[in-house]
Each structure stands twice: as C-alpha cells, then as structure tokens.
C-alpha cells in the first residue's frame, strides 16, 4: 500500500483544498466549492416573490350545521377515495421532467408563464389557507375531514408549482405571516358557489390544455403540463365534494339563489376571458387561441355543472361574445386611466366602470337555459 493512497483513504474529512492530500482530492473539493458558489449566486439572484394570500372567515356555525345524511352513500365513497389518495407520490419529478431552457425562453413568454405559475401557486396556497381555517374552526366531523383532505391537496399542488418556480429562479417568500392582515368575510353559500365553480372550471382548464398538448406535443414548452391530468383529477374531486354539500340543502340551488348561481357563472366566465387575454404570448406558445380555449372550457364547465345547478348560461347567444369583448377592452381602459391619474384619469375610470357595469348587465340578462339536475350528483372525470 503506498502512502498516498493510505492518506487518501480519509479524504472525506477534508473540506478545504488546503487540507487535501492529493491532487484528485483537491480538484474534487474545488469542484464541490464551485457548485456551492454557483448555487449561492443563484439563490442571491433569485427573484423574491412574496405570496399574498387572503384570509377569510365565514359563518362556522352554519358549516357545522350541515348534515350529509341525504347524500351519505356518495359522500362516504368520495371521502374514502380521497383518503386512499391515489395521487400520492404523483407530484414528484421523474424522468418526464425535461430540462427547461429558461435562459433562452422568449422574455415575454417567460414573464407571462411565471405570472401564470405565481398566480396558480397563490391560488392553491389561498385555497389551502381557507380550507385549513374551515377545518380548524369546525366541529362537524364530516366537514372538517373534507376540508383537511382538500387542504392537503392544495398544499401539495402549491409545493409542486413552487418547485417549478425555483427552477426558474423565482423564490417564493412566505414571510406574509408576520405582516398585518385583515380577515374578510364570505357567506358559506358564496364559498360553495365560487369554490365549486373554481374547482370545476379549473378541471376543465387543465384537461383542455392537457388534451391539446397530447395532440400537439411540440407546443409543450414546459414539463409541468404533463402533470395536468392528475392535477385536474384532484380539482374534480374537490368540485364533487362541493356539489354534494349543495345537494344536502335544496334551497341552495332554487328560488332566489338561482340568481346568485347565474351571477357566479357569468362572473367566473367573464373573469376568465379577461384574464386569459392578458397572456397572449403564453397562449401563442401553447398553440391555443384564447377564444377557442374559452369557449371549450365554458362548454365543458356548463356540462359538468348540470350535475347540481338548475341552469346554464347561454354562451352561444349573440350578446355573449360581444359583451365579453367589451369587458376586456374596458378593463384595459380602466387600468390605463388609473395609471394616468388626475381628474381626466378619474373621469375615464368612472366612464369605464359604467361601461363595464352595462356590459356585465347585458351578459347577465341573457336568458339562461333551465336544467333539471339528476337525482344522483356524482360524476367521474370524462374529458
């Protein structure tokens, strides 16, 4: 045994080139140091994005009073499926996670795509905060268990998106907890309508992109899209849970509440239309026309919501598209007026808001299509 090898047998102890006893060891340490330095530099250069989720309260007594007995069979099946957690382990990077060439990505696309990831991450995160709060404040076992399971999924999704953001050099900052925050209030039924729709439209949005990219893999510019299928199945189950919750109380989907349902459908679709048109480069890179995409998603969502809603909105009515376009234009005008400020800005903003209200009223008054929901609520993802 020669001397060098014998000394080299304990190189693990050396962490500095000065302590290295062989050239190989020294090179290895230098390489390790370079890796560390480059990582530290990346960390420093990371763009810091502070997550700003909102905090909510609701009528927790009303939530506790929910009795799932009328839908017990379906409820237990759904909860059992969520407890079994078929997607566990799915949100992990594997060989399908190709390297992303962030440096050579078109800067406009990169900006829009990162905005897409940050807003998705915030949404998942806010969902997690809301569900966790409902879980903690409630005492009805059925309800708290459901919200606990949904909070788990949302936190998992947020973690997965966060990882994609880290790769892009965007560090998510969770320091918001030590900032002052005000709790707002939503009525439980508004939470049902809005989150039910949000989960179902979320499913329709993800699956439409997933199916499109199956046919056109050349447009898949980031590996995260490959995970959309399982992702949207979580959204689907969450929507199912809210559908069952609404089924326990027929008043929620009849009488004056029909007007609220129509309001939420119209508002959610209109918001999506405006938001999607704010990311033209993102949709162009996916090879998706936002108008086609919107129509596709609205059609799927309307079909799905027939499981519980007593109506669907008429998205083929001539007034529909025209007023969506007006809303989109007016929204940009209002933003420009706000940025301009002053008296003329204020006037332009007020005028814009009036036009937006009129366009929304025109959408809202399009006669809806009545629907008789089936006796059994449950659906399976089929798109």
């Amino acid at each position: 045994m020669n001397m060098q090898a014998s000394v080299g047998a304990r190189p693990e102890g050396a962490t500095h080139t000065a302590d290295a006893t062989t050239a190989e060891e020294s090179i290895a340490i230098q390489e390790k140091q370079a890796e560390f330095d480059s990582k530290a530099a990346t960390d420093l250069a990371m763009q810091n994005t502070l997550l700003t989720p909102r905090f909510y309260t609701t009528d927790f007594d009303e939530l506790d009073a929910i009795d799932v007995t009328p839908v017990r069979e379906d409820w237990d099946k759904l909860i059992a499926q969520m407890v079994a957690d078929p997607n566990k382990g799915h949100f992990k990077k594997n060989a399908d996670w190709d390297t992303v060439d962030w440096d050579n990505m078109d800067p406009v696309l990169k900006k829009e795509f990162i905005d897409f990831l940050v807003s998705s991450c915030t949404a998942e995160f806010s969902g997690c905060v809301l569900y966790k709060e409902m879980k903690r404040r409630g005492s009805n076992k059925d309800i708290t268990q459901l919200f606990q399971l949904m909070a788990r999924d949302e936190a998992r999704h947020a973690g997965f998106i966060n990882d994609a953001l880290r790769e892009a050099g965007v560090a998510v900052n969770l320091g918001f907890l030590t900032q002052k925050k005000k709790y707002t209030y939503f009525r439980p039924k508004f939470i049902y309508y809005a989150t039910y729709l949000s989960e179902k439209i979320g499913y329709a949005r993800y699956i439409t992109i997933y199916r499109h990219l199956e046919k056109h893999p050349e447009h898949r510019f980031h590996p995260i899209f490959k995970w959309f299928q399982e992702w949207c199945n979580d959204e689907f189950s969450h929507g199912e849970a809210f559908a069952l919750l609404m089924k326990t109380d027929p008043k929620l989907t009849s009488g004056g509440n029909k007007l609220w349902i129509k309001f939420f459908l119209t508002a959610v679709y209109a918001t999506m239309h405006i938001r999607d048109h704010q990311r033209p480069a993102f949709h162009a890179a996916l090879g998706v026309d936002p108008d086609w995409y919107g129509h596709e998603v609205f059609t799927k969502t309307s079909e799905l919501t027939k499981q519980i809603f007593p109506l669907t909105v008429d998205i083929d009515h001539p007034r529909w598209k025209r007023n969506l376009e007006t809303l989109k234009t007016v929204n940009a005008d209002i933003a420009a007026a706000k940025a301009r400020g002053g008296v003329s800005g204020w006037l332009a903003k007020t005028w814009g808001s009036a036009r937006a209200a009129l366009a929304f009223a025109s959408l809202y008054t399009i006669p809806s299509k009545p629907n008789s929901p089936p006796a059994s609520v449950r659906l399976e993802p089929a798109y």
Partner: protein
Amino acid sequence: MGLLTREVERAPCTVEISHKFESLHAHVRFDNGAVIYPGDEVKVHGPEIMAPFGEIVIEQRDATIVRASKLERFWTRMTGDLEVMELCEFSFSDEVTL
C-alpha cells in the same frame, strides 16, 4: 366591543411554515383559543419567518389582534362577499398587462 372603537389583545400563537416539495403551507394557530371575527386584523410579531427549502419551521410567537369595531364587523359582513371572486384561481394577478 364598541360601535366605533377597536380593542387590542395579545395572543400567543404557533406558526407553522412548510417549504417542502410535498407541501407548501403556512398557518397560524392561537394557543389561547382566540377566535378571529370578520374585519379583525392580526399581526404576528418578531422577524420574518423564513423556512429554507425542504424544511418545516414551527415557532411560538406573540400576535396582536386588533378587533374590528361593531360597525366595521357589520361592514365586513355586508361587503366581504363582493370580493368572493378572488377565490377563483385565475383572478389573482392584478396586472392588466404583463
């Protein structure tokens, strides 16, 4: 609780921040059972809590709860619903043009 006056109270709390791949979450739990009502403001004291990637940080902290006045609570209950659209996942970014 007065109609227009706000009361301030302190509450010990447990903060949990998870910055793990499996779960990104952050929660505050009041250890004395304090309950938050509409319009209340909460501030957790101390330096910003940063969980390094891959870790969960759990800390005991103090929080100040500024209770909303009766009027504010009423107002929040009446108007909070107007903001409900933000629960929809695609409406979170405020920027109109990116």
